[in-house]
């Protein structure tokens, strides 16, 4: 079946078998490997992407269902001139160790900050509860999300 969707602003399409997940479509057909396969059952969050503004586990979404929708992956956050504030704060605060959970964490955080740029610590924890980190860097990750939120709201206020 042909799946046509918008990924990071570009119209893309791929011919996939019906059981193909959105994660496989992104990684194997579109060569976007930022979303990772960690558990393949929706527990670890390394495959998180944003579909029509909402974060989802791309390992649990069949590619066919993403047809006609707008998907944002980690590859679509930076521009050629500028890192996304989350990428900046995650790097600066050391919120990335082995880095495998990073793309999913950042995407979940983006989905939160896009709606709520000044979250409480609890709201950040809640928004990241579906993203596991085994290097145990949660403290730094939470700091990085709060900091990025501050940068984003400052930028919004000035513009």
């Amino acid at each position: 079946m042909i799946v046509k969707l918008k990924v990071n602003g570009e119209i893309r399409s791929a011919d996939v078998s019906p059981e193909t997940t959105l994660l496989k479509l992104l990684r194997e057909h579109l060569n976007l490997t930022g979303a990772k396969l960690g558990c393949d059952v929706g527990d670890c969050g390394t495959c998180t992407v944003i579909v029509d503004g909402k974060s989802v586990n791309s390992c649990l979404m069949l590619a066919g269902r993403a047809s006609g929708r707008e998907v944002t992956t980690i590859e679509g956050l930076a521009s050629s001139e500028q890192l996304h504030p989350l990428q900046e704060t995650f790097e600066e605060l050391g919120a990335l160790q082995c880095g495998f959970c990073g793309p999913g964490m950042i995407i979940s955080a983006k989905a939160l900050l896009d709606k709520n740029p000044e979250p409480t610590v609890f709201e950040v924890r809640d928004a990241l509860s579906g993203n596991l980190c085994r290097c145990t860097g949660y403290t730094k990750i939470i700091e990085a999300v709060l900091d990025a939120g501050r940068i984003m709201s400052t930028a919004e206020a000035k513009s």
Partner: protein, 273 residues
């Protein structure tokens, strides 16, 4: 129609948070998937003459964001918030959670406590049953292969009924419940309890009511002693299992403590009204 013609190896796909996992583990079991998640008659939340209607394909995130659900049945919002994590709630649907019918389904107890009624549609028409009757056993409901769960109705008289839901898992996010408890009750003018409901999850083959515990509290004053007694009676009604998450004994202990707390909190909410 597709489901009716291909019943044996066809499945209806809702949010996919359970079914897609099943497909990965046993890919040969299903030949046909019918995506019902976008059907308009299965979606939407609204107030009708009979009460609050929730389409079966409403996601947990939609429930949590719905002003009307927040206002009329806040415990359904609280229960929705305990399902998986944000990503799961963005895909997972309330109907899918009920149809999958695991004993620990987080959405079941708070719906049971409000005497929810489910509407089922099949090739021979529609029927409505109390949610309690919908569950048959682990992963088994009364749905015939050609039938689908269309909507859930919270009867009008129970909108705003004081209620409290508690989930106990081994961690706060992404955990299956060891025990789920939902209580709902009214207080009469003389301060005695009316229409108490105690619904329990993960302690029997299906989500269940603790009917004897309810009866023990009905018409009584909600003092410490009576609430504790109801909690003790609830323990006598459950059939918990030992598994790697918790022992049956631990689950009994949890049911007593959490039933007491849920009743206590419901009473507090009722007296604030």
């Amino acid at each position: 129609m597709l489901l009716a013609e291909n019943t044996a190896r066809a499945r209806a796909l809702a949010g996919g948070t359970d079914l897609v996992v099943d497909l990965k583990h046993a890919p040969g079991d299903v030949d046909l998937l019918v995506d019902v998640s976008q059907l308009p008659e299965f979606g939407g939340i609204g107030e009708t003459e009979e009460g609050l209607r929730i389409g079966s394909m409403v996601t947990f995130s939609e429930l949590m964001a719905s002003p009307i659900v927040n206002q009329m049945t806040p415990e359904i919002v609280a229960a929705s918030h305990t399902v998986g994590a944000v990503q799961t709630r963005n895909l997972g649907t309330i109907g899918g959670n009920l149809v999958t019918c695991v004993p620990s389904a987080d959405s079941a107890p708070s719906l049971l406590a409000l005497d929810a009624i489910v509407t089922i549609a099949g090739s021979d028409g529609k029927r409505s049953v109390p949610l309690e009757k919908f569950f048959v056993g682990p992963r088994k409901t009364i749905l015939e292969p050609h039938e689908l769960l269309v909507e859930i109705l919270i009867p009008k008289k129970n909108l705003g009924k004081p209620s409290h839901f508690i989930k106990f898992g081994l961690r706060k996010g992404q955990a299956l419940a060891l025990v789920n408890v939902a209580a709902a009750l009214y207080l009469n003018d003389d301060g005695t309890v009316a229409e108490p409901r105690i619904a329990l999850g993960a302690v029997a083959p299906t989500p269940m009511f603790a009917r004897k515990a309810e009866a023990s509290l009905d018409g009584k004053k909600p003092d410490e002693e009576n609430l504790l007694e109801a909690a003790r009676v609830a323990v006598s009604e459950i059939k918990p299992i030992d598994d790697f998450r918790a022992s049956a004994n631990y689950r009994r202990h949890l049911v007593q403590t959490l039933t007491y707390r849920a009743l206590k909190r419901s009473t507090e909410i009722a007296s604030e009204h």
